[in-house]
Symmetry: C2
Subunit: 230 residues, 2 copies
Amino acid sequence: MDSAKLLDILGNENRRKIIQLLANRPCYVSEISGRLRVGPKAIISHLSMLEQAGLIECSVDEQRRKYFNIANNMRLEVSVSPYAYTVALHDIAFDREKKGESPAAEKKDSPPKEESSVFFLKLSSRLQELKMRQEELAQMQQQLQVEYTEIMDHCLDSIEKVARNPVECELLFEILKNETTLAALCYNLRLHPSIINANLIDLAERGFIEYRIKNNQHYWKICETGVEKK
Amino acid sequence: MDSAKLLDILGNENRRKIIQLLANRPCYVSEISGRLRVGPKAIISHLSMLEQAGLIECSVDEQRRKYFNIANNMRLEVSVSPYAYTVALHDIAFDREKKGESPAAEKKDSPPKEESSVFFLKLSSRLQELKMRQEELAQMQQQLQVEYTEIMDHCLDSIEKVARNPVECELLFEILKNETTLAALCYNLRLHPSIINANLIDLAERGFIEYRIKNNQHYWKICETGVEKK
């Protein structure tokens, strides 16, 4: 699934509620319809959209009733900030059949009752640790985003000092955000290739930018400095 | 803004494109309309939705033309997995007026031209570091999500071993996911409070669950073990 598809799906409140229900437990259409107080016809149409996208799958129980559950493991990250809008969808590949091979599962073969209890409590406390770790990482990501915006603010100030004309300003700003090609620069800045090229060459001669070749294309980027990493 | 509002906004392809444009540079309505090949009327309606949500703001230039830019710094994280659907929106508070106080900005007061160049290149290489760090963190978050699902799989296995009846199974599963109240359990499992209470007391006596009081309510959670943290 691509991120646009997932955002389209999550853009509807009832679809979000359905996913929420299914993440709690597998459900029948009638259950979902009852919980959401939405007619079964609408629910079925949402479910088929989710199923087509591979987000959920359907199975049949002993009484031959269809039930749905989440079939995917994915993580969507969206950042919106004054200098960046990024959307990343990570399809988290994982093979649940393999679980029997992990060390934690070795005890699976009918341990005595007492041991099961201890094992369960250990797993539960590991889950709590994971949740805490997840929150820590989310906090670190936020701090990074703050620093990113601050540095971009400073960069804008210093671009104004080093650029010799408005075109150079725009070029440095574009290339700073992402390494990019002449064609993309022409499109984004709506300027003739000859103007952009002349400025690129000048900036390169002054040691601000350089290019690398990737897939037979020239990608311009800001020169790397020898500054030690913190 | 709450996460539902942001997901509603991002659920429309043209609104996503508008945000993308504005993250690149502030734009006038006519620019956005031209780039997206969408009539100005529709663009204005999207813009006013974005503005009402506080995601963008509008300013007026010297020629009294209105332009729009991103006014917010936020991060949305959505996880969809077989046992969890979580949506977290982090409104990243940051005070851009304060930037003058940060050490990096001390050099701001008209450094000589040469120094500006070096400063710019240093800032740029710091930006690259930030991007790499962001990717590392994203990877760690994905690994956590994989481990979370694996542990939940094991937990389900061991719940079946330690529970004495289907109600206990369901209770342990619910409480494992989140600490929760009697009322929420009654609602989610659709069982009478007396049945749930009897099972909770039994599980507590056997050392699986305990409660803590928060806001005058009893919250049930899985007992913490003395297991050392890894």
